[in-house]
C-alpha cells in the first residue's frame, strides 16, 4: 500500500496553471526526487503536499486518509534557513516535541540522539548564528526528523551549500533514511543529486505536470565514480531535455 497518494492534484495562480492535474504515489520508506526546470511546479506540488497551499482540486491521501492543512506528519524542509534564531540548536530541534507536549526527559533524550546523528552534539547550546550553512541545514533536518513525520518533504535543501558540504549532506540523508526508513520526497534541479539519491525520479514540465519517471538501475550506496551512475545521469539528462522540449 502506498504511503501517499495524490489524485488529480492541481493548482493555478491568477488564472495561470502552475500545476495541472497530477497523480503521484509514494511507497513507504522510498526516496523520490522531483526534477524539472524552474517554474515547472515542483515547489508548488511540495507546498500542496505539506498543506501550506490549498489545492484547487484533487485529493491527497496519507495512509489512505485525506489530509489538509499543515501538520507534523508531513514536514517540509525549506531551502532557506528556518531555524528560530533566538533559540539554541537543541531548543530548535526540540521545538516541535515541546509543542507536541512530550515530557522534558524524553524530549532531551530524543534531541540528544538526533544531534548526535547529524553530528551537532557539541553545538547543542549554540545559537544558529554561530553555525555554518551546512550545520544549520543539519539542525533543521534533525528538527524535522524529531517529530518522526510520516513524510519528509525537502525543497532543494542543499542548493545553497558548497559542493563539499552538499555531498556530506547527501550522505547524511541516505544514512538517516537507512536507519529510520523515513519516506522522503525531494525537489531538486540537480541531475547528479537526483541520480545519487533517488529510488525514483519524476520529471516535471511546466504546465504539463509529471511527464516521465525514471528508476536509476543501481543499488545504494552509489559511489560517485560508479560508471552506472554516469550512465544514469546521461539517461536522466536526456529525459529532462525531452521533457522541456515537450
Amino acid at each position: 500500500m502506498s504511503l501517499l497518494v495524490c489524485r488529480s492534484l492541481h493548482k493555478s495562480f491568477a488564472g495561470q496553471t502552475i500545476l495541472p492535474p497530477t497523480d503521484l504515489c509514494l511507497a513507504p520508506g522510498s526516496l523520490t526526487v522531483l526534477i524539472g526546470e524552474s517554474g515547472c511546479g515542483k515547489t508548488t506540488l511540495l507546498r500542496l503536499l505539506a498543506g501550506l497551499l490549498p489545492p484547487d482540486g484533487g485529493d491527497i491521501l496519507l495512509d489512505g486518509r485525506p489530509c489538509a492543512g499543515p501538520g507534523p506528519e508531513r514536514l517540509l524542509l525549506f531551502q532557506e534557513d528556518t531555524l528560530f534564531p533566538w533559540l539554541s540548536v537543541a531548543e530548535n530541534v526540540g521545538f516541535g516535541l515541546r509543542a507536541a507536549g512530550l515530557p522534558a526527559a524524553e524530549r532531551r533524550e530524543r534531541v540528544a540522539r538526533l544531534l548526535d546523528a547529524v553530528g551537532l552534539a557539541e553545538k547543542a547550546k549554540a545559537l544558529p548564528s554561530a553555525l555554518s550553512g551546512g550545520m544549520r541545514q543539519r539542525a533543521a533536518l534533525a528538527r524535522a526528523l524529531a517529530l518522526r513525520p510520516r513524510l519528509l518533504l525537502l525543497d532543494e535543501p542543499f542548493a545553497a551549500l558548497d559542493a563539499l558540504t552538499r555531498g556530506r549532506m547527501q550522505r547524511l540523508l541516505l544514512d538517516l533514511r537507512a536507519q529510520s526508513g523515513q519516506t522522503m520526497l525531494l525537489v531538486s534541479h540537480d541531475v547528479d543529486e537526483a541520480c545519487r539519491l533517488a529510488d525514483t525520479v519524476h520529471v516535471l514540465a511546466a504546465g504539463r505536470g509529471i511527464t516521465a519517471s525514471y528508476v536509476p538501475p543501481l543499488p545504494q550506496p552509489r559511489a560517485p565514480e560508479d560508471p552506472r551512475l554516469a550512465a544514469a545521469r546521461t539517461t536522466l539528462r536526456r529525459m529532462l531535455a525531452d521533457s522541456v522540449r515537450g
Partner: protein
C-alpha cells in the same frame, strides 16, 4: 577593539565638550550670567541634589521631588502610548485589513509636529499633569506602533509555515514565532519612544506646571539662573540615559532579543 578604547571612547566627546566649555569660561569669552563655568554649575548641581548644604536656595534639594514628578509623568504617558501601540502595531503587521484600516490615518497624524498639538492639548486638558501625559503619549505612540508593525510584517513566511508544520496553532505561531522575531525591532521602537517621552515631558512641563525638571528649567530661565537651567538639562539627560539603560536591561530578558 582594545579594552581601553571600549571603555574610554564613550567619555571622549563629553570630556572634549567640558574642556571647551571650561576654556571659553576661563578666557571670559562669554559673560558669566550667560554661560556659567562648569565649576559653578557643579556647585549648583550638588545643591540641587541636596548634597551641598552651604548653598541655601529655594530649589536646594529639590531634584528628588522634581525627578519623581517628571518620572511619574513619563511613566504614565509612555504606558498610555505603548499599551495600545504594541498590539495595534503587531496586528497591522500581520493583518492586511488592519494595516489598510490604520495606516492612512496614523501616517497622517504622525506627520503633525508634536508642538502643533500643544495648544489643542492645553485647550482640552488645561495646564498640568494630564496635558503633559497626553503630549508624551502622543509622541511615544508612533515609534512603538510603526516598529511593532514593521517587525511583525518582516517575519519570513517560511518561519511561520515551519511553526505551523511543527504543530503550533495560529495563536501559538503568533506568540512563539512572530513575537520573538519582531522583538528586536519592537525594542528599538520602545527605546526611541522613551527618548521622545523625555523630549515631550520638558515641552509639557514648560507650560507652567508647578513641579518637575522641565518646570525647574522654566523657573531658572525666568530668574536668569543659567547655572540651574544647565543643571536641569544635565539631570534630564542623565535621567533619560538611566531610564534607557533600565529599559534595555528589561527588554534583553524577553524572548527573541538574544540571537
Amino acid at each position: 577593539m582594545r579594552w581601553t578604547a571600549i571603555h574610554l571612547l564613550p567619555w571622549l566627546l563629553p570630556l572634549l565638550l567640558l574642556g571647551g566649555w571650561a576654556g571659553v569660561c576661563g578666557l571670559a569669552l562669554v559673560p558669566d550670567w550667560l554661560l556659567p563655568s562648569p565649576w559653578r554649575v557643579l556647585e549648583t548641581l550638588t545643591a540641587y541634589l541636596g548634597m551641598n548644604t552651604t548653598k541655601n536656595a529655594g530649589w536646594s534639594g529639590c531634584f528628588w521631588p522634581d525627578a519623581a514628578a517628571s518620572l511619574g509623568r513619563v511613566a504614565c504617558g509612555y504606558a498610555l502610548a505603548a499599551i495600545p501601540a504594541i498590539p495595534l502595531g503587531l496586528l497591522a503587521g500581520r493583518c492586511a485589513w488592519a494595516e489598510r484600516l490604520l495606516a492612512p490615518s496614523l501616517n497622517g497624524i504622525r506627520a503633525v509636529p508634536g508642538i502643533s498639538w500643544l495648544p489643542l492639548v492645553i485647550l482640552w486638558c488645561g495646564i498640568g499633569f494630564v496635558a503633559t501625559v497626553t503630549l508624551i503619549a502622543l509622541a511615544a505612540f508612533f515609534p512603538v506602533y510603526f516598529s511593532a508593525a514593521a517587525g511583525a510584517a518582516s517575519v519570513p513566511s517560511s518561519l511561520t509555515a515551519t511553526g505551523r508544520m511543527l504543530g503550533l496553532s495560529r495563536a501559538a505561531v503568533f506568540r512563539r514565532v512572530v513575537l520573538p522575531w519582531a522583538m528586536p525591532q519592537l525594542a528599538a521602537g520602545l527605546r526611541v519612544a522613551l527618548g521622545f517621552s523625555f523630549a515631550y515631558l520638558v515641552l509639557g512641563e514648560l507650560t507652567g506646571v508647578p513641579d518637575g525638571l522641565g518646570a525647574r528649567i522654566m523657573d531658572a530661565r525666568m530668574n536668569g539662573q543659567a547655572d540651574l537651567l544647565i543643571c536641569g538639562i544635565v539631570c534630564i539627560a542623565c535621567l533619560g540615559a538611566a531610564c534607557d539603560r533600565v529599559l534595555l536591561l528589561l527588554l534583553r530578558r524577553l524572548p527573541g532579543m538574544v540571537r
